[in-house]
Amino acid sequence: MTIAFTVNGTAHRVTADPIRRLADVLREDLGLIGTKVGCNAGDCGACTVLLDGRQVCACLVPVGQAEGRAITTVEGLAASGTINALQQAFHAHGAAQCGICTPGMLMAASDLLARKPHPSEDEALDALGGVLCRCTGYRKIVDAVLSVGAPAAAIAPAAGTAVGARLAKTDGIAKVTGAERFGADAWPDDSLVLRAVRSPHHHARFTVGDLAALQARHPGLVKVLTARDIPGQNRYGIYPTGKDQPALAEGYVRHRGEAVLALVGDAATIESIRDDEVPIAWEALPALAGIDAALAAGAPALHDDKPDNVLVRGRVARGDLDAGFARAAAVAEGEFETGFVEHAYVEPEAGYARRIGERIEIVACTQTPYMDRDELALILGLAPERVRIVPSAVGGGFGGKLDLSLQPLIATAAWLLNRPVRCVYTRPESMASTTKRHPARIHARFAAAANGKLTAVAFHGDFDTGAYASWGPTVANRVPVHAMGPYAVPAVRCTSAAIHTNGPPSGAFRGFGVPQAAIAHETLMDELAAQLGIDALEFRHINALRAGDRTATGQLLEASAGLAQCLEAMRPRWHALRAAADAHNRSAPIVRHGVGIGCMWYGIGNTSLSNPSSMRVGLRRDGSVTLYSGAVDIGQGSNTVMVQICADALGVPASALRLVTGDTDRTLDAGKTSASRQTFVSGNAARLAGADLRQQILRLGNVGADAPIHLESGRVVVGSGAAARAIDLAAMAEDPNGDVLVGAGRYDPPTTALDADGQGVPYATYGFAAQLAAVAVDTELGTVKVTRIVAAHDVGRAINPTQVEGQIHGGVAQGLGLALMEEYVPGRTENLHDYLIPTVGDVPEIETILIEDREPLGPFGAKGIGEPALIPTAPAILNAIHHATGVRLRRVPATPDRVRAAIRAAQGKAAP
């Protein structure tokens, strides 16, 4: 059928099946990839467009309904060739992080602003309520919408002043115009489409039936991949010793959503095949759901080499624990539980692979190009140099895109078929098959002396690591180091275990188990403070780790331990807000107010493992500078931060730098975008590379170390006034990149291995933070509204304060979700309406306080912020609920029914 409509004022006639989603026709047929698809179910709003001027989800509109109508997409906003005022506001406010939600947000806001040029905040919230953002915590988006028409001056720092400036994102314009290419946004014309067929069972055996019959029925089905087709080893995993996950299952599946087969063919054919048409005979097995089932006597071993289903244990022990408890004046003890948490990035996994001669190239969303390269080399049976990873823009990661997902499948298909192969996960597929935050069950005991000093901490955490190892060892090792909290404790025994179950693989998720542990330590810190009659903030201040202290691993903190400063900065807010809540509660209202505090520390970089980053920066004959950065920007802003750092190290304006990122053929390995390491580790590499290039230039000019550098076309002028010298670039030899001079930098944070008691130097530096949450609890309904967050973070140095705030806002929103609403139930919450993440109406005003206690090892003093941002939020909220109501929630999420049950129990009534 032919359907005629206009898009952004241009008339189109398309021939399409009229029931197809408008979003798909815009993207696939018209090439307008600015409209994003995150769920195809109306839940995320990424596909929001205007239909006759009203915002709708383009994934819910049959293209047949577009007949005769006018559609506006994000591509229509900058129709004049320059970005409009709304886009400008988003760019200036840092309202786009990964940018995958940005087109939807812009369209929803455009609808509002067309009707109401000066909306109130509530009107803005209502208008944006249908678009989810997982990165920003929404506050900067709301600020941007409310500020349209009052443009901020563009920031263009002079040479040497980029660090500390609120530079707009170097890759920001593409995010507000919709031009950014995410995993699903680019593909070669002749691509085949791949779809995995996955296990509907949590634990099962299967046999594959007659595939020839299926292929005969569907001539467009070019190939059905099975485990036998994997050219190399059908096993992958993060750790060299933990390669336990098959790309395609071999007759046996350990979790629901595990890939069994992959269908490859033309798009229409692949779409038309129903899963139940594929001949797979299932024999469901009893599933090990949860830690108890996996540890029960007689439980089957899910992996032959792990007879007790224990993947790994972790331990940190120091001091005389018995003596510590014996001399305590107060002891607090408790058991805590958390569930699976889903990353819920708005961009489902997507990408394509193509074979180029004897090499394979994978363009997909990822947080770790080099690790992908090496893993895919094993799976394909190729030398790593024959695998090229070109990361697409990443629409949110948070740890979930550190593991391979679709890459082994598309790479194998493209390799075997010698055709480009593309795949886009559906939302339920993404949720069922990719990693989660580890569910935890923690038992902890904290003790303190009458003077308020902690004397002993005992902690054990069992972590449900799901079907495969993934990052389970990281969680098991990181947790015991951090489990006593950011405090000086003379006697510590912290242990952990990662346990296999038939849950989805638990992997990396912002904090690697530390957020779960923080719920335990911050609750018990509050309880100890109450027992001792010491103010909860002051109790933490007494015990805060400071420079000069030793940690539980015996590490001497030499510098940059700013928790005490965070608490001091927070103190006035704490007293004012606590007093206001107490005053409100004096009349015994139904909606009670509470204010709680949470603290954290977090080791930057990998635990006791070498994790180097290398970077290069090149100077061309035309005087332009290119930074080759292998650090993948997943929205957190490394593309901007690396430029700021390198520019200052080189001594040129940030605007002089061009950026080449990610591509394993063009950049060096800058490690993973995880463990909050990019600013600290890769930032140091960028700094060293910039300094190296500067040295080379100064040497050529034979001038002193402080001499200014001026880049001009064809030459560089060094020094000033009479001492100025020009270096002629035109005469210099070019390398294959076109660079005439190249600076290089490499940095690996100094750490040591941990001994059997976990003693050693696991991290070169730590981030510290304290957050305060104010809540209103409806005691009759058990609903909790967070009304305010104050977040004080010691970041060493804020390379870009706007981005640091953005990380804090986004972390707070995820912490709020962890505390109040997020719990993934395999097989039950595989979509974004049963699995709830905070909307724009759930995230309160967030005040950020940046403490800059310089880290001598950091680039210009900086540490990391990505994970620290999330960790203190949930405990602060739980402590606030306690302040409001007197009840302690030891299991998250604190959903209305759980909160209400706790309140009823405290009132001596049966739980509802």
Binding site: D17, P18, I19, R20, R21, C39, N40, A41, G42, D43, G45, T48, L51, R54, Q55, V56, C57, C59, L60, V61, P62, G64, Q65, E67, A108, L125, D126, G129, G130, V131, L132, S272, I273, R274, T426, R427, P428, L781, G782, T783, M821, V825, R828, T829, N831, H833, L836, P838, T839, V840, G841, D842, T895, P896, D897, R900, A901, R904, A911, P912
Partner: protein
């Protein structure tokens, strides 16, 4: 690939339904989410081009909300206070995108236990107008929905409109929704209610319905009867007793426990009455 029809007139639509099974699509906001990752291969009747099914209108003795009236239309139609509850529901359905596309009739026809429109329609005594080649009939909304995802609609019928009878002037209405986040949330419990005062300031008539606590939203007739004659004032909320919700049959699910739903229902009923009794 299924067949797709988008006729301009009702007769053609009814003829198509009479000729064979077709899935009706209006706003599509329930249709597509039920088909994520699945082929779109149903035979479809898209009713959105049919003339005369969009505008909300005044009729003899009431109001007509036709099949294509969206939630946004409800908010913007300038309806009287009788519709305040339905308008409140309209503002809380999904996000604005959903309100702009989703229809009130679609919400009813989809027959989800958690459909926010339904308790309001019960409290408004709505009648459902159905048309087919063999004629028209009307049914009370309460009788129309028979279970989770099931209604009295025959496969050859289209719901053409909801008919809302006038209520005595001064009738008030309210809607309360309980969910675990601010926007885009499936209700844990919701209440739709109307209340008509008598001249002496007591309750002349009340219609109160609860959703998400049984397969089909339910009127609470015991409570309605107990309210009649009670003075409309701060004490009205106290009329709600646990036994009034005895007939509800909530379930445990990921959103809440059954016991919690009962407990919260009582609280929400009291708050609804308090809101309706407020001066």
């Amino acid at each position: 690939m299924g067949a797709y029809l988008r006729p301009r007139d009702l007769d053609a639509a009814l003829a198509a339904l009479a000729a064979g099974n077709r899935v009706v699509v209006a706003g599509g906001t329930d249709y597509y989410p039920a088909r994520v990752g699945r082929p779109l291969d149903d035979d479809v009747l898209d009713i959105t081009a049919i003339d005369g099914l969009r505008a909300i209108s005044r009729t003899q003795g009431g109001w007509r909300i036709p099949a294509l009236a969206t939630w946004t239309d409800i908010v913007e139609a300038g309806l009287p206070p009788l519709f305040d509850g339905l308008k409140q529901a309209a503002r809380e359905i999904g996000g604005v995108q959903i309100q702009n596309a989703g229809t009130v009739c679609g919400n009813l026809c989809n027959a989800s236990p958690a459909a926010d429109g339904v308790p309001n329609l019960l409290a408004l005594d709505a009648q459902v107008e159905l048309a087919s080649r063999s004629g028209r009939r009307t049914l009370p909304a309460e009788a129309f929905v028979t279970g989770n995802r099931s209604t009295q609609r025959r496969a050859d019928e289209l719901v053409t409109a909801l008919l809302i009878p006038d209520a005595p002037a001064a009738t008030r209405s309210a809607f309360l929704k309980l969910g675990a986040r601010r926007y885009l949330v499936i209700s844990i419990v919701m209440i739709g209610a109307t209340l008509t005062p008598a001249a002496d300031g007591t309750v002349a008539r009340a219609r109160i319905a609860v959703g998400a606590c049984s397969a089909v939203a339910r009127r609470l007739r015991g409570l309605e009867a107990d309210l009649v004659g009670q003075p409309i004032g701060p004490g009205l909320a106290a009329a709600v007793k646990d036994l009034h919700i005895a007939a509800l049959s909530p379930i445990d699910d990921v959103r809440a426990s059954a016991a919690y739903r009962r407990d919260a229902t009582v609280t929400l009923l009291r708050r609804t009455l308090a809101a309706l009794a407020a001066p």
